[in-house]
């Protein structure tokens, strides 16, 4: 008796399973467009780029010959590329440090129950505004605002008596770098503020209430509760910003074209110029792309790990 019942339920289950499996084949059908277009427009170009980095394809040649690791040795000794790599990091660091500090302060003020500020939604939307404006337009705006000798900034500095003669900003390495970093800062601190604020609002209220009962000040709860719990989100913001920063192109390219003295030449401006200007060194550009890909992958893996630690910590420490 017992055996027959199990068989009947098993067949019933099997039937249901068969029916579900019948549906499940639609999973492949619905995923197919994504997968095919991914293969054609992401996967293939990426491997084609990697392939080209091992060839001598340059100029108007149509045949590509495999040359082994020669391009990688060359790029290691390419002073301009090394400069582009270090510039990219300098520009990113100078923009990111003030950005994360300001974003943290703003997020703290926006969420403080003691301050209970009004109009936060209004301010947030204004701080975020520069982020949606075309980067190409932003670059041209700043290149005219800082232009020499009679751009708006120079006019302001002269009329305020802050300088005696107009400043040629884009002749100065330091000034040009500061302007590029400032633009990045200006375009992204609003976004970072919103992400951090959302993170703070996700922390369990009870933790703050308990701290208040124990006599902690606002600032103490911020540094002792909020900051440690925000570590994973901060790491996430840091790495996504870094990966975005590695792709910097529109702003430096349209602001000064990389100058003066290659001071704002970034990895992507280097790749673009190698491939599409002058000698059309597709092999050099492809090699630089592979270096960039390796860096990006390394940083992405860090994000994956931070995801993992974040979710396990959240459960332990009571983040919603």
């Amino acid at each position: 008796m017992a055996t027959t019942t199990t068989t009947t339920t098993a067949t019933g289950k099997q039937k249901r399973l068969a029916k579900r499996k019948n549906h499940d084949k639609w999973g492949y059908v619905f995923m197919a467009p994504f997968f095919l277009f991914f293969l054609a427009f992401n996967f293939y170009p990426m491997f084609y780029t990697i392939y080209l980095s091992f060839t001598d394809l340059a100029g108007w040649a149509t045949e590509a010959n495999i040359v082994g690791f020669r391009n990688f040795q060359n790029i290691y000794n390419n002073m301009l590329f090394r400069r582009a790599v270090s510039n990219t990091f300098i520009l990113w660091v100078v923009n990111f440090i003030p950005q994360i500090v300001l974003a943290f302060l703003l997020a703290y003020w926006f969420t403080s129950r003691r301050l209970n500020l009004k109009g936060i939604g209004f301010f947030k939307s204004l701080f975020y505004l520069p982020n949606i404006i075309t980067a190409a337009s932003v670059a041209v705006i700043f290149s005219s605002l800082f232009s020499y000798p009679r751009g708006p900034i120079n006019q302001f500095l002269l009329s305020g008596g802050l300088v005696d003669s107009p400043v040629d900003f884009f002749r100065s390495v330091v000034m040009t770098r500061l302007i590029v970093s400032f633009i990045q800062f200006w375009m992204w601190y609003g976004q970072t503020t919103i992400v951090l604020q959302a993170g703070i609002l996700g922390i369990d209220e009870n933790l703050f209430d308990a701290a208040r009962v124990d006599g902690a000040t606002d600032w103490q709860s911020f540094t002792k509760i909020t900051m440690p719990l925000m570590k994973p989100i901060t790491l996430y913001v840091l790495i996504t910003s870094l990966i975005g920063g590695l792709q910097m192109f529109d702003i430096p390219y349209l602001l000064t074209g990389g100058g003066p003295q290659q001071s704002v030449e970034t990895m992507i401006t280097f790749i673009y110029k190698q491939a599409f200007q002058g000698g059309r060194n597709l092999n050099v550009a492809a090699t630089a792309s592979v270096v960039l890909l390796l860096m990006t992958t390394a940083f992405s893996l860090l994000v994956f790990n931070s995801f993992r630690t974040r979710s396990s910590k959240q459960i332990k420490k009571g983040v919603k």
Binding site: G27, Y48, T49
Partner: protein, 282 residues
């Protein structure tokens, strides 16, 4: 709870913060405002000094721009066509992909999900050289197809759609339709897509703006002047032809940013909401 000195301190703190926020607000608006004002001034007026009050030279600046072959209307049209097509494709196929990932059980599903997560982190810029050669080999340079079709596989949109669908999907939603004999695709079209409207709206805004602002890809793929997108037209303003015609140059920049600023005044609530949701979930 607070004594008077504390209350006073709090008030002073609040005032200071509002002043600071006001300054940051100015920082967000002033660059754009200066551009818009200068677009209405003559070159000598611009040379004379900074002003925040619009003047009456906008039409002359506009005619000068037109005379230079700066065809902004065509630029709007081109950018709109590309952005609208790419956004439509990405919304439809991303929802379909997200639906497949949530509703069905099939082999390789985990791998696909891992792949999508990887794709979010690795930007397409790293493979532009291969992409360019590939497009050149199949003869699609000076064509909008390579700017539109890749949107079918847009990993961040799939991610967002999956997160959203997870919160609203329940098997009961589709079971009765299945019993009625509706096809799986029909179920997706008539039941799931309408339910996803809020997520679709959010991603429509972000997808559209992203495509509209894209500069590097059209720059390497498009040579034909009449096919230039808006950011490519903006790039022309940095060339020598506008070295002395400041009014016209500012007019060109102003025209490139005004549609986005208008869009933002209507949609900023949804955009901020989207950034907030993305930040928490990612």
């Amino acid at each position: 709870m607070y004594d008077t000195s504390n209350a006073k301190k709090l008030k002073a703190q609040r005032t200071l913060l509002y002043v600071f926020f006001g300054l940051l607000t100015l920082l967000s608006i002033l660059p754009f405002w200066i551009v818009i004002v200068n677009a209405t001034r003559t070159a000598p007026q611009i040379q004379q000094g900074l002003s925040l009050i619009p003047r009456g030279n906008a039409w002359n600046n506009w005619t000068f721009l037109r005379g230079r072959g700066f065809n902004i209307l065509q630029g709007y049209g081109n950018s709109f066509f590309i952005a609208a097509s790419a956004t439509t494709l990405s919304l439809y196929f991303s929802s379909l992909t997200a639906y497949a990932l949530i509703v069905y059980e099939f082999k390789g599903k985990k791998i696909m999900w891992g792949l999508i997560l990887m794709l979010i982190m690795i930007p397409s810029q790293v493979s532009i050289i291969g992409f360019y050669r590939f497009i050149a080999n199949i003869g699609l340079l000076n064509n909008y197809i390579p700017l539109i079709l890749p949107a079918v596989a847009s990993a961040p949109t799939v991610f967002f759609m999956k997160q959203y669908l997870e919160t609203i999907y329940h098997p009961a939603l589709v079971d009765s339709a299945r019993i009625d004999g509706a096809s799986e695709l029909k179920i997706f079209h008539t039941i799931i897509l309408p339910l996803m409207r809020p997520a679709l709206a959010t991603m429509a805004i972000f997808g559209f703006i992203g495509s509209w602002n894209n500069f590097l890809l059209p720059l390497i793929l498009i040579n034909e002047r009449s096919m230039y997108t808006l950011p490519m037209l903006v790039q022309l303003l940095t060339t020598d032809g506008y070295r002395t015609e400041f009014g016209a140059m500012y007019m060109g920049i102003a025209l490139s940013i005004i549609p986005l600023i208008l869009l933002y005044t209507f949609l900023s609530r949804y955009i901020i909401g989207g950034v907030t949701a993305g930040g928490v979930k990612q």
